[in-house]
Symmetry: C2
Subunit: 414 residues, 2 copies
C-alpha cells in the first residue's frame, strides 16, 4: 500500500477545547477607546464610577418643588396653598430656595432647589394668579426626585471586566464622564488556505480550479466574534510552501487557522506544519462531530493553531465551535447566554451515538407553529448553509431526533 | 392655569407604525460592494448564479476515479482488480481517461476524469505494486462525486432581495464569482438632542448640568440596526434653535430622531418642530407602552421624524421598538426570526392592561433552571439597563405576569 489511512483519535469538542485551555494561557492585549467607538468591545478591566450619578437631586417630572410636609392632607376638596417663589432654570444651579408653604416651578431633569424635598406633578396643581398654587394631592418626601448617586454611587462597580459593551453601557459610561476605557484589542486571527486547486475569488477559474471561499467565510466569522482577520493567501500543496507561509505570518497573529490539508492523505500537510511551528504541536487530531471530523487542534510556541477541513461547510461549522470560543478567550470575554429559537422538527434527523451532529435547518411557520426543516444533502455544498436559518445539534449520546421534537435552533447571525 | 396638560391619544406600537407605513414610501439607496466587505449588509436585488457550481464534477474523497460498473459485486473476499492508469493533478483539467477496468488516483476536490463516473475511497482499496488496485467494496454511479451544478445551477436564484449577508452567503457569492453586488446603502439617521441642561460627554458638568447620553446610546442602536448615525449636537430649549438645527440637517438624513421635548410642557417643542418641518407633520403623540408613553411619530416631506422621551431608558427602549423597524424598512430588509431566551420569571411583574410594558431582567441559573429576575425601580435610571441582560414584555391585554411564568427574554445585543 502506498498510503496508510490513519485513524483519528476523535474527542468531543468540549474535551478537545479543555485540553487546549489546560495548556494555553492567552495574553489579551488592550487598547484605550472612547466608549462612543467601543460598541461590542470587551472591557479589559472592571470599571468604577468616578462620580455620583446624578450629581445633584433631579426632578423626574414637570411640576413644583415643594416641602412634602406642606402637602400632607391636600386633596381636591381641601387643597394646600403654596406661594410660588420662582422657577428653576434648566442646566443651572437652583437659584431659588423653597421655604415652608413655598413652591418653585421645576422641569423634568431640573435641579431640586435647597429647602425642597419632593416635586409635585403639574397635573396635580392649579395656579391662582401669578404666584399662588393649589396643591390637590399630597406628595411623599423624595417623590418624583432622583437623589444624588441613586443611579450609581461614586466608587461603585459599573461593569465587570470581560463585559461586552451594549448601547446602554456606552450611555452609562459617558454619563459618569468615562471617555477613555481599556478594552481588549481585537485578536489577530491568521487565515491560511491551502490547495493547488484554489484561486482568489476575483480570478477566472480554469478547469479543475475553484475559488477559495473558506478564507472569506472564516474572516467574516472572525469579525463577528470580535477578532481581526489577517488573510494570509493560498499555500500550494507542498510542505515547504505551506510551512513557509504559516511561519512568515506566525509572529504577527494570536491564532492561526489553516483550512484544507487536515486529513490523512499525502497532500494533508497541516499536521506536519503545526508540529513544525513549535512545541507541543498537535494536541488533537479528530473531533467527534459531523461534519468536521478531520480537524486539528494544536499549540505552537504558546499560540493555538487550528487545522480545519477544506470542505467549506465543515470548515465554517467547526470554526463556530472552535475558533469562536478561542477568540472569546483571547478577548477575555465573559460567556454570553446562548440564544436560540425554539421550533418543532419537521422531519426526523438520523444520527449515530458518539458524535455531535450539526444539521442545517430552515425555519418556517405552519399553522402558527414555527417548524425547523432539516436540510440534508452532501455536507460539502455551501449552498446548503445559504438556504439554512440555523443549526440543530444532535447531542453526542443520541442516535437521532424524531420529527415533532421541540428543538433549539442556533441561528446564523448576519 | 398657566399650562394645560394635554392628554395623549395613545396607540399601541404596532398600530402607530402601521399608520406611518401606510403614508410613507421609503426610498432605499443602494451601493455596490465586494461581498468580502458586506457582512451584515442587506441585498438590494435578488441574486442569481452566473455559473454552475461546481463547474466540473469533483471528488469528495481521496481515492480512485473508476467506472462504477467495474466494482459491482466487489468484496473483501472477491475484490475487483483495476489497472491504475495515472493520477489527477489538483487544480488542473484531468489529463487521464478512465476506461473499462481502469482507475485513476484522485484527491478530494479533484476533477473527475473522462470515463469515470464514481470515486472509491482509498480506505476501500489496496494497491498491488505500482499500477494495480484491489477494490474491496462496490461503488454506485455518482458516489463520492459532486456533479456539475449540484451546489447551485447556473441561473438559479442564490439569495432574495432583502437578505442580510452572513458568513456563508459571502462564501457562496464568491464561489460563483460574484465580487460586486448591490446592497442597501446604510440609511442616515439624524440624532438631535435637546435640553439646556445637556453638555457633551467630554465636558465637565456644572451644577444643574448632565452629560448628553441619549445621542450615543441611540447612535449605537442605529449602528447595530445597519444605519449610519449622524450626530446633530444639542439644541437649546427654544423653538427657534431646535427647529433651526432640525431643519439644517433634515435634507441630509433619511430619518430624524429627536430626544427630549416630546411631552406636553412649555419646553416641549418637539411636536411643533415636527409640524414645522413639513406636512403632514405629527401622526401620533403617545404610545401605549411603559416606559416611553410621550413619544411622537411624524412624517415631514416624505421622511419619518421621531420624538423620543428625554429619559434615557425610555428613549432607548422605545427606539428599539420604533427606530429599529424604520431602519429595517429603509434598508429593505426582510424580517428576521425573533431571537429570545426562555427563562422562568423569578418575581411577579405587575402591569396595567392597555399598555405594553418592557421590563428589564437579569438572567441567572438556579438549580439548572434559567431564571429571569425583574429589575424594578425608577424608569429613568440608565444603570437599570446596564444591570439587565434583556427585556420581558408584558402584553397589551395583560395585567401582569406571575412569578414562575415561562417567559421569552429579548436579549440586549452587544
Amino acid at each position: 500500500m502506498s498510503r496508510t489511512p490513519e485513524f483519528f483519535n476523535v474527542q468531543p469538542v468540549r474535551a478537545a477545547l479543555e485540553a487546549l485551555f489546560a495548556q494555553w494561557t492567552p495574553q489579551p492585549r488592550r487598547e484605550m477607546r472612547d466608549p462612543r467607538a467601543a460598541l461590542g468591545c470587551v472591557l479589559a478591566t472592571e470599571l468604577r464610577s468616578p462620580i455620583d450619578l446624578p450629581e445633584f437631586a433631579r426632578s423626574t417630572v414637570d411640576g413644583y418643588a415643594v416641602r412634602a410636609a406642606d402637602t400632607f392632607g391636600a386633596s381636591q376638596s381641601l387643597p394646600a396653598y403654596l406661594a410660588c417663589v420662582g422657577s428653576v432654570a434648566m442646566g443651572e444651579r437652583a437659584a431659588v430656595t423653597v421655604g415652608t408653604a413655598q413652591a418653585a416651578e421645576i422641569h423634568t431633569g431640573g435641579m431640586l432647589p435647597p429647602g425642597a424635598d419632593a416635586v409635585i406633578m403639574i397635573e396635580r396643581t392649579q395656579t391662582i394668579g401669578e404666584d399662588e398654587l393649589e396643591v390637590l394631592h399630597p406628595v411623599a418626601p423624595g417623590e418624583n426626585v432622583i437623589q444624588i448617586g441613586e443611579d450609581v454611587a461614586r466608587g461603585a462597580t459599573i461593569l465587570p471586566a470581560g463585559h461586552r459593551l451594549r448601547p446602554q453601557d456606552i450611555g452609562g459610561l459617558l454619563a459618569v464622564g468615562l471617555t477613555a476605557i481599556a478594552v481588549a484589542a481585537p485578536p489577530r486571527i491568521g487565515i491560511l488556505s491551502c490547495g493547488d486547486e484554489l484561486v482568489a475569488p476575483e480570478e477566472t477559474t480554469a478547469p479543475g480550479q475553484i475559488r477559495d471561499i473558506n478564507a472569506h467565510t472564516l474572516a467574516a466569522l472572525v469579525t463577528q466574534a470580535g477578532g481581526e482577520a489577517v488573510l494570509l493567501g493560498i499555500a500550494r500543496d507542498t510542505f515547504d510552501d505551506y510551512l513557509a507561509r504559516a511561519r512568515a505570518a506566525f509572529a504577527a497573529v494570536d491564532l492561526l487557522v489553516m483550512t484544507a490539508g487536515s486529513s490523512v492523505s499525502t497532500r494533508d500537510w497541516t499536521r506536519a506544519v503545526i508540529d513544525a511551528l513549535g512545541a507541543p504541536g498537535v494536541l488533537q487530531h479528530g473531533l467527534a462531530v459531523k461534519p468536521g471530523k478531520p480537524t486539528l487542534i494544536g499549540l505552537a510556541a504558546g499560540k493555538p493553531v487550528i487545522g480545519l477541513p477544506g470542505n467549506p461547510v465543515s470548515a465554517l461549522l467547526v470554526a463556530r465551535q472552535i475558533v469562536t470560543p478561542l477568540i472569546q478567550r483571547l478577548l477575555g470575554a465573559a460567556p454570553c447566554p446562548r440564544m436560540s429559537i425554539q421550533a418543532t422538527l419537521a422531519a426526523s434527523i438520523p444520527s449515530a451515538t458518539g458524535r455531535e451532529d450539526s444539521v442545517p435547518v430552515c425555519l418556517s411557520e405552519r399553522d402558527g407553529v414555527l417548524m425547523a426543516e432539516p436540510i440534508f444533502g452532501k455536507s460539502n455544498l455551501i449552498f446548503t448553509l445559504m438556504r439554512a436559518d440555523g443549526l440543530v445539534r444532535v447531542p453526542l449520546n443520541s442516535n437521532g431526533l424524531p420529527a415533532g421534537t421541540l428543538v433549539e435552533v442556533n441561528p446564523f447571525d448576519a
